[in-house]
């Protein structure tokens, strides 16, 4: 159950901001702090299960990034010779690793976003300007389980017919595709036929005679303003920091990275503060409800 209640638009802006920042920062300290905070958020949101999906998607992609980067970008100065005169550069390798870290953060951010903002809320934001499109989306979401039920029934019948009409040949892949498409065809024609009754029912209930309103209604509340205030202030400071090179390390042409210089400055703290409000809110809810 989703507990934290912030205006969905604020959520959208916040997550968008975080995704952009995930691309911008490449200092390992920042990245790791980022990763820890997002992970904490995900744990608090109670979606550790989705963590697995994210990792499954992440591993092949990150491998590709780490391998491809040095292969295609030979711009660094620190050469590592692999085969004879063929070399890759340390810089490109590091870049790849940091980038795959960004990818991980972004994937986790999206996982968290999908949890934080329900599709009803997203559609609420969307439906003001695109009422018909949102209606299509709502209906499509309703049709998916219905069609999937129909597909399993059609599948049963098709297997049944096969067994009882006695052509049990060994199936090639083409046969399988053929069968699938035929089943899909039955579901398609059946559902299209029935969907026209849905259209009638919508018309009978007055769809389209005037501008639609919504059962849901969100107003910006005090907490939203506070939230906006915090994130805009910290983002401002972070941007200033980034402009001065805080949070970014120089990779090309030569890797420049030392332990001391980038820590413990107001920019880093404001970055942390930017990450915290949602975690704080989720944590508070946890305490109340457990």
């Amino acid at each position: 159950m989703k507990l934290t209640i912030i205006h969905p638009a604020v959520y959208v802006i916040y997550y968008l901001l975080l995704v952009i920042l995930a691309f911008l920062y490449n200092d390992p300290y920042y990245m790791i702090s980022f990763l820890i905070c997002v992970s904490a958020l995900i744990m608090l949101q109670g979606i550790s299960r989705e963590f697995k999906n994210v990792i499954q998607f992440f591993i092949p992609m990150s491998l590709l990034i780490i391998i491809l980067n040095p292969l295609v970008a030979q711009v660094g100065t620190t050469r590592i010779y692999v085969l004879g005169s063929y070399f890759i550069t340390l810089e490109a390798l590091v870049y790849g690793i940091l980038m795959s870290l960004s990818l991980l953060i972004i994937l986790l951010l999206f996982a968290s976003y999908n949890r934080a903002v329900s599709y009803q809320e997203m559609l609420y934001l969307f439906s003001k300007r695109f009422p018909h499109i949102s209606m299509i989306i709502v209906m499509a979401l309703r049709f998916i389980p219905l069609l999937s039920y129909r597909l399993t029934e059609v599948n049963k019948i098709s297997r049944f017919n096969q067994e009882n009409q006695g052509n049990q040949k060994i199936e090639s892949r083409v046969d399988k595709i053929k069968k699938t498409a035929q089943m899909l065809a039955v579901v398609v024609s059946w559902s299209l036929e029935e969907s026209m009754l849905t259209a009638k029912s919508m018309k009978a209930r007055g769809y389209g005679i005037m501008k639609r309103t919504s059962y849901l209604s969100y107003k910006l509340r005090k907490i939203d303003y506070l939230f906006i205030l915090v994130i805009s202030a910290t983002t401002l400071i972070c941007t200033m920091g980034l402009a001065n090179g805080f949070g970014r390390i120089e990779i090309y042409p030569t890797l420049h990275f030392s332990v001391h210089e980038s820590m413990f400055n107001p920019y880093y703290f404001s970055f942390l503060i930017l990450l915290l409000p949602l975690i704080y809110l989720e944590f508070k809810e946890r305490l109340i409800w457990h």
């Binding site: 499509a140 597909l151 399993t152």
Partner: protein, 213 residues
């Protein structure tokens, strides 16, 4: 990533979203009939069903096929909208991400182009198969952009590298499209046309359908 590259990526994404939203606006303004909305919703649901790896359909990516068929039979607007909404709804089901936008563009353009060349595609099965096959790759190339974001520089070699890595998948996608479009064009055309003629272009004259040729 340096600011310039990031900036251009952001601009690129904003343009993509802008194009999609502009199309949506046009659709909204065209005052679509209720039947049309339900039709698109069903088509979207079907292509999602065709792309979910469920037990019922083993290993066939039928979404592209449905979207191309939609474009051919119902015209470019319906094709585009169906193509664009398929990954969006899929995203609402399985989780959204920045790649959703690229998929929207990929499938949207697929439906759009199918609608633009509908006459040719309807007549000639070779062109149809070639179209499906080619779109297997185009779609792959468009969605691969999500990988390019994480490479140091967008150069010919880096682009080639990513595309070679995805080539087997694109090939499979293209071949599946071509096979489906050869084998089942007639069947699905018949089914779609029945609905189009009976409900979308119904004879009561008030049909402001989007698919005027």
């Amino acid at each position: 990533m340096d600011y310039l590259t990031l900036g251009s990526w952001i601009v690129a994404f904003i343009v993509m979203i802008g194009v999609i939203l502009a199309f949506f606006r046009i659709f909204e303004k065209s005052k679509p009939r209720v039947e049309h909305l339900v039709l698109i919703a069903i088509l979207v649901a079907i292509s999602i069903l065709g792309s979910l790896p469920t037990a019922a359909i083993p290993g066939v990516q039928a979404a592209s096929f449905i979207i191309i068929m939609t474009g051919i039979v119902f015209g470019r607007e319906t094709g585009f909208i169906t193509g664009v909404l398929t990954p969006l709804v899929l995203g609402l089901f399985l989780g959204l991400g920045y790649w959703t936008i690229l998929q929207m563009i990929g499938w949207g353009l697929m439906g759009l182009t199918a609608g633009i060349f509908r006459v040719k595609l309807g007549e000639n099965s070779y062109i149809r198969a070639g179209f499906g096959f080619a779109w297997g790759f185009f779609y792959g190339w468009i969605t691969n952009i999500s990988m390019l974001l994480f490479l140091s520089s967008v150069t010919l070699t880096s682009v080639l590298g990513v595309y070679i890595a995805s080539a087997p998948f694109d090939l499979l996608h293209g071949v599946t499209n071509a096979v489906l479009l050869i084998l089942f064009f007639g069947l699905f055309e018949r089914i779609f046309k029945r609905i189009r003629d009976r409900y979308i272009n119904s004879p009561d004259g008030e049909a402001k359908s989007l698919n005027k040729q």
